[in-house]
Every structure is written in C-alpha cells, then in structure tokens.
C-alpha cells in the first residue's frame, strides 16, 4: 500500500514539475495550433502575418455533423516584426499560438524583394518552430495563398504535401528552414525555394508550385521554370526519384523514370580560374516512348536512347550553369563551397566577392545514363 501511495505522489510530482502553476499554458484548448504562416511586408515597414490555424471547435461531434464551421481559421495580424505580429493574435483570440505543428512558411514577393533575413531569425530562434518546416515564396502575396479555399482542405497541409513530393518529382526544389539558415554560411547567401501560385479551377483556387525562385544576398533575384528546376536538382545532387523527358532526332518523345542518381562535383584551379566538373550518373527505366510502339528496343536502340538522354541532360544542365553563374550570378547549387573545401586560401582571398569568382569559372558536365529496365518491351523484342 505504501508503495502505491509513493508511486501516486511521484506521478503527481512529475506532472506538477512539468507544468507547475502555469500548466494551463500547455492545455491544448488554450493554444492556437498554427499550420501555416504567411509573411507580407507592407509599405509602412511592418509585416502582415497570416496565420492558418486548426479550428479546434470542429472537433466536437455536433459541429462536425452540422458542417457549420471550417476546419481551419485564418488570422491576419500586423506588427513591426513577425514576432510582434503573431503575438498580437492573443489579444483578440485569447489563445497562445503553438508553432510546433507549423508545416510551411510562405514569404510574400514584396518581402522577398526586400530581403528575407529580417523575418527568418524568429523561426530559427523559437524552440517550437521545427527545423524541417518548409519555406516557400508566394507568386504575389502570402496571404492570398493561405486564404485560398480548396474544398475544405487545409491549404498548409496541401502545400506541405506538394513540396514533400519533391522526392518523387525533379521539377520541385524543396527548401527546409534549416537549409535556408545554413545558406547564410557564405557572404552571398544564395539559395532557391519553390514559388507558390494560385490557379482557378472549377470555381476553386488551387495552390500550385509554379517555378523556383533564386535568391542572392537573401533577396529575390530571378526564377527558374520546371525544366530548369530539374536541372538544378541534378546539379545539387538532390535527385532521388522522378522522371525527365526528351525528344529524339526523329521527334519521338521519350520519358525516363529515375531509379538512382549520383552526382560528383569537383573543382580544379588552373591559371587562377576554377574549372568545375560535374559528373551525373543515372540509372533509369524507360517509362514511355511516344510514337515508339512500333520499334523494338534492341541493343543499338537502347544505346541511342541513353545517348540522347546524356546529351539532353548535359546540354540543359550546362545551359543552367551558364544562366546561374554568367547570367544571374547566383550560387544556388553552392559550388563555391568546393573552392572553400579544396582551396581555402583562394576562398579566403575572394570571400567578399564570391560571385565574381564563380562568374569567371568554367563548368563542364559529364552524364552517364544506364537503362535498367524497359517495361514489357522484351516480350516484343524476343
């Protein structure tokens, strides 16, 4: 009996010690469970923060049956900083924001053009903000994205799922909070993130990933289309699955499904100029050959197909490298780090103007594509 009493006392002591006299703060009914945060910079220098929160009242059975309430609530608040804006929600909602369930941070275009370093600190500093929260750019305003109504679906959830799909879709470049903060390691702070846009379809507004935004010095600089985004993923060694397609000289469209991809990046400095070599080794399956049903995949044709794929990837990725380093001057793939690793003294000498060094560098891409499977083709060939 004594042991039971001691056990009960210990359990209460543990509970009390975790919450103390302020245990009410941790009561879920007193928390505003944030799912998505949108940040728009305003002309007055302050920020409008849009919070998408779970409407906890819909969890009651009667409300769910009546369907009278939305599953999410949207709050728009204004403040001098992101933190003060978010905290102001307490004054009219009476609940304390809880960010641990936050799925995405959407940054408005105006904020991005002015530079995002001012808005990121809060997210890196606050213990409840997970380091793996996705960061995305809104094509226009962030509030438009989070306010979109999509068959009652939680938009932040759907954005999270769409960005998460980057592991299966080479056309999406995902960026998590810790990766974004990490890119401040270099003086130029170059990175890329997905751009969200609103599309009208059957009377509903659907959030889509339209393109990829390029940032330099933490400011929005340019965008990449879907094909360029795929190449950026290849160059960064971030392709795990997904597909790519190309056209042969006979105007056949060929779609390849990626099984495995390894990327090796090296740099050599010759006569003061960095020479980069990127080797992409791909293992693929032939997924589809448009107009190719009447031709058999014999050995020669397989070699042709892989040759076409190699040429396509080489051409497109070199085109992107030229755009990034000669045109846009944005080290989104982070290649200046290779100089830092291999030639620290060269890096140190050029630390303040890395982009100039990257712009005068030479880049070459070598691609090796192996076709692993061809579907049911061998039935026909044999």
């Amino acid at each position: 009996m004594n042991k039971i009493i001691v056990a009960v006392v210990v359990i209460f002591a543990i509970l009390f010690s975790f919450g103390g006299s302020e245990i009410y703060k941790n009561d879920i009914s007193n928390r505003l469970i944030i799912q998505g945060i949108g940040i728009d910079k305003e002309d007055d220098g302050g920020y409008t923060v849009t919070l998408q929160a779970i409407n906890t009242s819909t969890y009651s059975a009667s409300v769910q049956e009546s369907g009278s309430e939305e599953t999410v609530k949207i709050y728009k608040v204004h403040g001098d900083t992101v933190y003060t804006a978010i905290k102001s929600v307490v004054s009219f909602e009476g609940k304390i924001p809880l960010y641990s369930q936050n799925r995405v941070i959407v940054i408005g275009k105006a904020t991005a053009l002015g530079g995002i370093e001012g808005v990121i600190d809060f997210f890196a500093r606050d213990a409840h903000n997970g380091p793996s929260v996705y960061v995305a750019l809104a094509e226009n305003r962030a509030d438009e994205i989070l306010e979109a109504k999509n068959s009652g679906e939680v938009i932040a959830d759907s954005i999270d799922d769409t960005i998460e799909a980057a592991q299966y879709n080479t056309g999406i470049f995902k960026l998590e909070l810790y990766e974004l903060v990490n890119r401040y390691r270099d003086s130029e702070a170059c990175f890329a993130m997905p751009v969200l846009s609103l599309e009208e379809a059957e009377g509903q507004k659907i959030v889509q990933i339209k393109e990829t935004a390029l940032f330099c010095n933490a400011k929005l600089k340019s965008t990449l289309n879907g094909d360029e985004t795929s190449m950026l993923n290849f160059l960064c060694g971030r392709v795990y699955n997904g597909e790519f397609s190309y056209k042969t000289d006979e105007n056949e469209k060929v779609a390849m499904s990626i099984v495995n991809c390894n990327v090796y990046r090296t740099v050599k400095i010759l006569d003061g100029t960095p020479h980069y070599t990127v080797k992409i080794k791909l293992s693929t399956d032939v997924a589809e050959i448009y107009n190719g049903i009447e031709k058999s995949l014999d050995r020669q044709r397989l070699e042709e197909l892989s040759q076409y794929a190699e040429n396509y990837l080489k051409t497109e990725s070199e085109k992107l490298l030229s755009k990034l380093y000669e045109g846009e001057v944005c080290d989104a793939p982070g290649y200046s780090r290779l100089i830092f690793q291999k030639y620290p003294s060269v890096y140190r000498d050029n630390e303040e103007n890395l982009n100039a060094l990257m712009a005068k560098s030479r880049y070459s891409v070598e691609v090796e594509v192996k076709i692993r499977r061809v579907g049911h083709e061998f039935v026909k060939t044999l």
Binding site: F18, G20, S21, E22, A127, G130, E179
Partner: protein, 356 residues
C-alpha cells in the same frame, strides 16, 4: 571509499551515460572559435587529452588499487585528507549545479519554453538525491539497463540522418589554425567530470580497469565524433544558430510513422541527467560522510540537495548567471587539479618515499 563494489562494465556504463549528457547538451558558444569540421577533430582530440590527463592516476592506482585519491592522501597527511575531501566535494558540487542548470536551460528553452520549470528542476535534484541514497550498486544496475536502449536509440537516430548529409557543409580542417582546435578540445576535456569520478571511485569497480577505461574512451570518442560528423553534414551552419544543436538534429530525424525523433533524445537526456546527478551526489555524500562521521548520509544528501536546489533556482532566473557559472576555464582548472595535478603530486611524493 565505500566498500560497495560494482563491475567495471557497470561503472563505465555509468560514465558513458553521464558523458553522453555533456555531449548532447553542448552549446555552440563552447566551440565558436573553430570551423564546423573541426568539431569532429576536437571530438577525438579531447579524449586523447583525457588519456594524457589520466596518466598520473594510472600509475598511482597501479600501486594502490584499492584506494582512491583521498585514501592515498589521508595515508600520508590526515588533515590534508580532510581539506582535500572538502575540496573534491566542492568540485563535484560545482559540476552538479552546472549539470542541473544546463538541464534547466534545456527544459526551459526546448521542452517547455513558456512554462516555469523550477518545480522540474527541484524534482530532478530530489530524485538525484534518492538515487544517491540507493547507492552505487543501484546506480550501476540502472546504468547497465539504460546503456543498451540509449545506445540503440543513438545509433538509430544517426542512421536515419546519414542520407541527409550534404558534403558541401564540411569545412577545411584547421581552417582557423590548429591552436583554436586544441583550445576547444582542452576546454572540452576540462568539462569531463568523469575523470574526477574515476579518480575518486575507480576502486569500487572490480575487473580489468585499464582495458575498460580505454574501451570507454574509444567508444566515447567514436560516438561524439560520429554525432558531430552527422550534425555538421546535415545541418551545416544551422548548427551554430541553435542553443542545443543535437536536439535540433534529432528533430530532423524522421523514420516511417515517427514524424520526429527528438522526443527520444529528450528522454535519453533526462535519463542521463538523473544518473549523472545521482552519481555526483553519491560521491559527495560518500566523501563527506567519511570525513564527518557524525553526520548521516541521509542528512548530508538532504543538505546537498537543498543547497544545490537553492543555487540552481537562483541560476535558473537568468541565462546570464548560467554563462557566468558554466565557465570553461573554471571547469578546466577544477578538473585538472582534481584529476591530474593532485594525483601527480601524490605520485611524486610516494615515489620519493620509496626512494628514501
């Protein structure tokens, strides 16, 4: 020293867990003078320094295997033994306070940032006192029971993160020179209170002590270096923006239905903290009881618990106080004196006596 005995496996399991707590709760300000990859280098270097610091202890205990440092001093100079006992207790008490304060900083920042965790802090000290009261055998058994799941969880977390490593995050080794790396490693070695624990408690362990010591050092270096290697590879510079980077790292570890693995780290953390606080208090209780026999162990532990609670509650009020108390130089001096200098002096005195 207490006549209770535990096996070397139990003893070094306990040290493994207490040291793991220090590794998990390292704060980047300790390593601000070095580049990221040097974290891995200093993780190995610090344990090499620990081995060097333990050389006098090795030779001293080779000749006196059943005595701890205080017994050896007492044999030579009874009054000096008493003074040193108080000094050793003060050093252990200092480490107890900083351990609990760091746990408080972690809990108040990461686990319950909006809650007053003073009750939790006092509760940790209370159960630490209870653990110390149960004795070394109970702590040894708890350590063995804990070391297997803790190691498995650690390996699991590291394994799930390997795929996220980006090799561009690594920096050139010794980018800022060798000296800052050495200084960081030396400071880390100075925070290794386990060396003081060995100096005071190794006689309670039965078995092959030297071999176990080297296995412990090797595993500790391996775990620390692996953890830092993965941390730097995955998080890069984000590491330096986080108060407790290892916890942030665990938050990135995802596996199947487990959305985040940071609660595992939190659990390990609290378990290790319990063992460390208990063992530190046990050693203090044991030393002081021997010197002040009129005081019971219970009374001593209650007094230590009350005093450490008051001090920790005072420190908990401000992170500035914590930065003053958790001073690397003070810890280095305390550890070097108690684990290296005093044993070295005793070794010299013993040898001179033999020579005479």
């Amino acid at each position: 020293m207490s006549k209770s005995k535990i096996s070397t496996f139990q003893f070094f399991s306990m040290l493994f867990l207490t040291r793991l707590l220090t590794t998990f709760t390292y704060i980047p300000s300790y390593t601000k003078d070095i580049e990221l990859s040097d974290l891995v280098v200093q993780a190995v270097l610090r344990y090499l320094i620990c081995v060097v610091m333990m050389i006098p202890v090795y030779f001293l205990f080779k000749r006196n295997p059943d005595m701890n440092i205080l017994d050896i001093v007492r044999n030579k100079w009874a009054k000096g033994g008493k003074i040193l006992a108080v000094f050793y207790s003060a050093v252990l008490f200092y480490f107890t306070v900083t351990t609990v304060s760091r746990l408080d900083l972690f809990t108040g920042t990461i686990v319950f940032p909006e809650t007053n965790v003073n009750y939790f802090l006092v509760f940790v000290i209370l159960i630490g006192c209870y653990g110390a009261y149960l004795g070394i055998e109970a702590l040894g058994r708890s350590a063995v029971l804990s070391v297997i799941p803790v190691t498995a969880a650690l390996v699991f977390i590291i394994a799930t993160l390997i795929g996220k490593i980006d090799f561009l995050n690594y920096t050139p080794v010794f980018y800022k020179g060798v000296l800052p790396v050495f200084k960081t490693a030396l400071n880390a070695a100075g925070r290794t209170v386990e060396l003081v624990m060995i100096t005071l408690a190794i006689p309670v362990a039965s078995g092959k002590k030297t071999k176990s010591f080297f296995i412990w050092i090797f595993l500790q270096a391996l775990v620390t270096a692996s953890l830092f290697f993965v941390e730097v590879g995955v998080m890069g510079n984000f590491t330096n923006t986080q108060l407790f980077p290892v916890h942030s790292l665990a938050a990135l570890a995802k596996f199947s239905m487990f959305g985040r693995l940071d609660p595992i780290i939190t659990g390990i953390w609290i378990l290790c903290a319990f063992l460390k606080v208990s063992f530190l208090l046990y050693l203090q209780g044991d030393i002081l009881h021997k010197e002040f026999e009129n005081l019971s162990k219970k009374t001593i532990l209650a007094g230590l618990g009350a005093l450490s609670s008051v001090i920790c509650l005072y420190i908990a009020g401000s992170v500035q106080r914590f930065t003053v108390v958790d001073n690397s130089l003070a810890k280095l001096i305390a550890t070097a004196l108690t684990a290296t200098v005093i044993p070295a002096v005793m070794l010299v005195l013993n040898r001179r006596k033999k020579y005479e």
